[in-house]
């Protein structure tokens, strides 16, 4: 008489040992490879997947994103006018340089009449002088005098 434990042991020990035939191996592997190829062809990765698949490409993509974000931050934090004015101020170190035609033209191109005005203020500020305030009539009179001089 066999007890339950003995019976379990008997079933375990009597586990059949079978081996697959060569023809079966060939059939299974060739069909499996075909199924695998089919699947891989169906799920061929798109450009984003390809980028993510390669480690180098992943780093490159991350670097591009970071650079783009830093660029955007710079643009939004420092508007164009300020950048232009700072640029001119950095290049032109003395008030005289700041009031040359080239400096004033550069400031005007980058920030318009306001930038030009700012640069003049800055130049006067640096030289310790106060800019005279001109009204429109005086300004026109000055221009007329200049024109008369040139005509003569």
């Amino acid at each position: 008489m066999k007890s339950t434990e003995n019976m379990e042991q008997f079933v375990r020990d009597a586990k059949p040992h079978v081996t697959t035939g060569e023809s079966m191996d060939r059939r299974v592997l060739s069909d499996s490879f075909a199924a695998m190829d089919e699947r891989l062809a169906a799920v061929r990765p798109g450009p984003p997947t390809k980028i993510l698949a390669s480690r180098i490409m992943r780093f490159a993509a991350a670097a591009v994103i970071i650079i783009a974000m830093v660029g955007l931050l710079i643009v939004y934090k420092c508007p164009r006018q300020q950048v232009a004015n700072q640029k001119v101020l950095k290049i032109a170190k003395s008030p005289a340089e700041m009031l040359t035609a080239w400096s004033l033209m550069t400031a005007y191109r980058h920030g318009g009449i306001e930038a030009l005005d700012n640069q003049c203020d800055k130049a006067f500020e640096m030289s310790g002088q106060q800019r005279d305030t001109l009204n429109m009539k005086e300004l026109l009179a000055e221009i007329e005098i200049d024109l008369e001089r040139t005509e003569l």
């Binding site: 059949p16 299974v28 695998m36």
Partner: protein, 181 residues
């Protein structure tokens, strides 16, 4: 062993045919033995193993392994064998319908003795209802826990355990009857 399987699955998911070949080489005999024990028909069993591997290969890239690879493949084979068994008329093989299955018996003496034991077990298992045979084989031959067996068969743990208990009782009584005769 498990880590080895994880690496193989990882490589398989990246489209490595070598990994698929290794998985097949590693488990083919075990799975064929399981299918033969369940179906008692070598050609049907080969078809089941074939279908399991072809469908497994078709899952490359998206295959996620939650338990062991052996458990997963054994479950697939058991499910495939159950489907074939349903298709086959007279699924619960009776004594009359039971045919001897040829097992590979290599080696002069030890091999012959083991082969005889395997034949004997095969004859005993053939008298059990398919559901009981399935649970016994998955638990004792494939070393799957009752929880895994229950999950694989889509039944509760209690059902799996009771099928096992009834099956073992019946197996013991058949064995003892044949010995006393």
């Amino acid at each position: 062993m498990v880590i080895d399987d994880k690496i193989l699955v990882w490589r398989f998911n990246r489209g490595s045919k070598d990994a698929l070949r290794r998985i097949y080489e590693k488990y083919k005999d075990d799975l064929l033995g399981l299918a033969i024990t369940l179906l008692r028909d070598r050609s049907l069993a080969e078809d089941v193993v074939h279908d399991v591997f072809v469908s497994f290969a078709g899952a490359t890239g998206t295959f996620r392994l939650s338990g062991t690879l052996k458990g997963y493949l054994s479950t697939c084979v058991a499910n495939g064998a159950r489907d074939r068994n349903r298709l086959k008329s007279g699924s619960n093989v009776g004594l009359e319908a039971a045919e001897a299955v040829d097992f590979d018996c290599d080696g002069p003496l030890e091999g012959a003795a083991r082969c005889e034991e395997a034949q004997r077990l095969d004859n005993l298992l053939a008298r059990l209802p398919y559901e009981q045979r399935e649970v016994i084989v998955l638990h004792l031959h494939q070393e799957m826990r009752f929880r895994e067996v229950a999950q694989a068969l889509g039944v509760s743990i209690n059902t799996a355990q009771s099928r096992y208990r009834y099956g073992m009782d019946k197996l013991r009584s058949i064995f003892n009857n044949t010995v006393t005769q």
